[in-house]
């Protein structure tokens, strides 16, 4: 079985509203894709994604695996800059190691 990975540019992500962004990610993940977001999601968006995911968990879709680099401090240390977020179906993707600059994940076909 092939697993598709979609790497989405920051420009594309920034052109969407928060709701569109989350719907776009979850639709991709539910169809079995790994979604990599350049620029990443804020922690508030990640929390909303968890909430949205929970409304759609059923016998076939058990949820998501999500990993990301932590935000960097931005201008004057006030505004935080998000970096990169990877989201995949929990049945396919499993994060094995993670720190502030490294994400190791195993992707396995069902």
């Amino acid at each position: 079985m092939e697993i598709k990975m979609n790497v989405i540019s920051e420009d594309k992500i920034n052109s969407m509203s928060s709701t569109e962004k989350l719907r776009f990610i979850l639709d991709g993940v539910k169809s079995g894709d790994i979604v990599v977001l350049e620029g990443g999601l804020t922690s508030e968006e990640q929390m909303k994604l968890i909430e949205l995911t929970m409304t759609e968990v059923d016998d076939d879709f058990s949820g998501i695996e999500m990993s990301g680099y932590p935000s960097k401090k931005g201008f004057l240390n006030i505004r935080k800059k998000t970096r990169l977020t990877v989201v995949g179906p929990a049945k396919v993707m499993h994060t094995t190691k993670k720190d502030k600059d490294l994400i190791s994940a195993i992707i396995s076909a069902i």
Binding site: S62, G63, G68
Partner: protein, 236 residues
């Protein structure tokens, strides 16, 4: 949008601090499944309210708590507790801690369902549940996660409980901390299960150096005074 929310939160907190302090503080006990949230909540209630009152049932099956439970009117008063009951759990700790145990705080404690990004009913079947029961529990667990997230809008501080024997650097923990920082809500990390041989609270402190990390055993009652002191200091 996020910036607006952050400023609104800061202004609300400033107004609250300057004009009227809330009589009661709502504290959420958050964390991943099986971190010991219900055990900690029960420990707090047993110590300061009624030693026979359980807020919830703690078991080894994940997502045992699937509805948030609020226990109102808990008064954490270390000085009174020490005087009233010289044999209490608190007094089994070191004399030094007893002497500085003067923290006092009135709060509502909210025991929340474990936060997770995935819930697979097969995991419950591994604990001996029948398929129908496992699916029902999984459905309730997803609702519990949503409820826990919604409670974040209505609390004044959180104790984020982590299992000291597990890798703390999970996305769920990072997301909770990031959300609290963005809202300007105080957070204490409690590194639970330090009574276990492979516990490493230092690993948690290293992962989140910007936050207070208090090593505890909610089950055995170890180091609870440090946690109560920190709660009184941060959440008052």
């Amino acid at each position: 949008m996020n910036s607006k929310r952050r400023w609104k939160s800061i202004l609300t907190r400033l107004r609250r601090a300057l004009l009227f302090r809330k009589a009661t503080t709502k504290i959420g006990i958050y964390g991943p499944p099986n971190a010991g949230k219900t055990t900690l909540t029960n420990r707090i209630v047993h110590t300061f309210v009624d030693e026979n009152e359980d807020v919830g049932t703690a078991t080894e099956v994940p997502h045992e708590t699937r509805r948030a439970v609020r226990r109102a009117g808990v008064i954490i008063d270390l000085k009174a507790k020490s005087l009233e009951d010289p044999n209490s759990d608190l007094n089994s700790e070191s004399e030094v801690k007893q002497k500085r145990g003067k923290a006092k705080l009135k709060l509502d404690v909210v025991d929340t369902p474990g936060l997770a990004t995935k819930i697979d009913f097969h995991e419950f079947m591994a604990y001996g549940l029948e398929e129908d029961e496992a699916k029902k529990r999984a459905k309730e667990a997803t609702e519990g996660v949503i409820e826990a997230i919604k409670w974040l809008d209505d609390i004044d501080g959180i104790v984020l409980l982590m299992d000291s024997t597990e890798d703390p650097y999970t996305q769920t923990n990072i997301v909770i901390i990031g959300n609290m920082e963005a809202r300007g809500i105080p957070i204490i990390i409690a590194a639970n299960k330090v009574d276990l041989v492979d516990a490493s609270p230092q690993r948690i402190a290293n992962a989140f150096p910007q936050h207070s990390v208090i090593p505890i055993s909610a089950l055995k009652g170890e180091n609870m005074v440090d946690l109560y002191e920190e709660m009184a200091r941060r959440f008052r």
